[in-house]
Amino acid sequence: MPIGSRRPRIRRRVFAGAIVALVVLALMSVMVGPRPISLESALAILSEGVAGSSGAAGRVDGVVLWSLRVPRTALAVVVGAALGMAGALIQAVTRNPLADPGIIGVNAGASLFVVLAVSVFGWSGVLATAGAGMLGALLALLAIVVLSARGRMSPLVLVLAGTALAATVGGVTSAVLIVDSDAFDQVRFWTVGSLAGRDPDLVWPALGLVALAALAATAIAVRVNTLALGEDMARSLGTSVVRTRTIAVITVAVLCGTATAAAGPIAFVGLTVPFAARAVAGTDTRWILTLSIVFGALLMLAADVVGRAIAGTGELEAGIVVAFVGAPLFIWMARRRSVEHL
């Protein structure tokens, strides 16, 4: 572990580097796809609107860029940031480095409610499904928090309980989908976890919700920090444990519900991103949160670009790419002895 005085400089450098990488990736994201767009033409269109394009081919480029690529890129950034932040918060609250919204069943809860909203109530609007997703995420989180509140739960038991919860909830989801094949057709691309073909109107509501949640997370960051010292210590430092936990859980539910409604159930972003953020930021929750937001956006965007770049005319869904990156990290962490005792 580096000496404390060097930590701030490293944090700032990594943060700056990640922002630069994010801008570069965002540019690549608007260029890469079934219709490649050159850098000059992309920059011209971005700076001057569709007017920046010349000729018929240029005009098509302009339309593709503004109506498909830019919303998709923005959505990747928002979803990634949301999942990264949610992972950092849930790991801090449960004090469990293996807690990931996908692994502990939160995404499964969100999925079930989104599917119910589509199938039973016939909702398809963005806010309706996002709201349903949030409610499902909240209920799943409550179940996990209630389970882990009775005495300290070891990371392994929490993961297993989450797996069991995800299996139960997932079973109900498949039952609904099998009975209602129209709903299945609507959600089967969504259940892979993808940013392809999303409604551009999703971007602004999702951004708003995630920004709200980010404000809430910033407000409780210091208190979450003291919570990491243990409940008794936190209480003696004047932190209201119950209120902090409640705010954190609701924030995570908003983040996971929004991300799941927008991009489908995506696992492992919430696991890998806080892990990397902790490696850079040490124990300060404010920095862990900040870096998790940037890293999450970076990972999601990278997964989306890679998925589009390697699959030729089709694409590999971002959720699948992320699983291939995140699962090996999870396995590596599981192999380390210290996991049991964190």
Partner: protein, 345 residues
């Protein structure tokens, strides 16, 4: 042999006899479930006619009724029994292997591996039964080898094995989701049904595959029984008794994975039966050691009951059996974890 005491000292049953009583009870439950699944269904057939068809007296039965009983309901029943038995045995084998009550093949991820192998074969080479069986077996074995390799770190720790299994399962899930999203809707719906673990549409060729598996695996398992019960007292003691522990472990892993593959080919990846059956067998019979056979019997009981429920709950729409086992089994696992934490299990 220890004895179980009931009502003070007046009634005392040796444990072995208790096991027999429990198994006889299980057989009665199986018979009841078999009657329900043979005599009831979406097409209502009179009980007298069904009995006639079953004993070979087709008088008064329409060809459709004969087909329904002999080629729909009967093979489905046999498949449920065989797949349940296979899951129970494999669960007991893997729990002994990992020395962990949670070390069943569905939690560790072998079931997912077998399912992924079968799905990949179906997508790339069409759904021929032999190909699916080979795919399931290969997928299960490759996944098992991979998980063991990744979990190995100067020894095999049960908990590490489970965590690594969860990670590998996630990757396999991503692969299956990808394969499903590439198929057309009809194939994808069939795929989803199959992946949830379904006994709908099982025929006699499925039974034939299962029978081949049984004929090969039953003697192999019987031959393994000695080393399994020696391992159940702990690997150190087993080594001191002259057992080649690494070799025995590999043999158990191969046979256990083969049982999983049989179940996956016949019924798809059914979850939680392999986890719960050995626990039920052990706690009801209170026998020490490896309850291989009784775990198999209770696996058959669980799967048959789940299948009956799956057929009846949303009738006439049939749910895949695996949906029922997932919902009930997940809740069971949550309960089990609470008990394990309090140290009462």
């Amino acid at each position: 042999m220890s004895a179980l005491r009931l009502f003070g000292e007046r009634v005392s049953l040796p444990v072995r006899r208790r096991l027999v009583v429990v198994l006889v009870g299980a057989v009665f439950v199986l018979l009841g479930g078999a009657l329900v699944s043979l005599y009831t269904g979406n097409s209502s057939i009179e009980a007298k006619i069904t009995t006639g068809i079953l004993i070979g007296d087709y008088a008064g039965a329409s060809p459709f009724e004969v087909f329904t009983v002999l080629d729909v309901r009967l093979p489905r029943l046999v498949c449920a029994l065989v797949a349940g038995f296979a899951l129970g045995v494999s669960g007991a084998l893997f729990q002994e292997l990992t020395e962990n009550p949670l070390g069943s093949p569905d939690i560790i991820g072998f079931t997912g591996g077998a399912a992924t192998g079968a799905v990949l074969v179906t997508v790339t080479a069409g759904g021929a039964l032999v190909g699916t069986a080979a795919g399931a077996l290969t997928g299960g074995l490759v996944t098992a080898a991979l998980i063991y390799l990744l979990a190995w770190r100067s020894g095999l720790d049960g908990y590490r094995l489970i965590l690594v299994g969860i990670g590998v399962t996630a990757v396999l899930g991503a692969v299956r989701a990808y394969a499903l999203s590439r198929a057309d809707l009809e194939q994808a719906t069939a795929g989803l049904r199959w992946l949830s673990g379904s006994l709908t549409g099982r025929g006699w060729d499925d039974v034939a595959i299962a029978a081949i598996g049984l004929v090969i695996l039953a003697p192999a398992t019987a031959a393994l029984h000695r080393s399994v019960s020696r391992l159940s007292v702990g690997s150190d003691l087993a080594t001191s008794q002259g057992l080649d522990v690494p070799r025995a472990r590999i043999a158990i892993a191969v046979v256990g994975t083969a049982w999983v593959a049989v179940a996956v080919v016949v019924a798809g990846p059914i979850s939680f039966v392999a986890l719960a059956a050995p626990h039920i067998a052990r706690s009801l019979s209170r026998a020490s050691g490896a309850p291989l056979f009784s775990a198999g019997v209770f696996g058959a009981v669980l799967l048959l009951l789940a299948d009956v429920v799956a057929l009846r709950v949303f009738s006439p729409t049939q749910l895949p059996t695996g949906v029922v086992t997932a919902v009930v089994g997940g809740a069971y696992l949550l309960w089990l974890l609470q008990r394990l934490r309090r140290g009462t299990a």
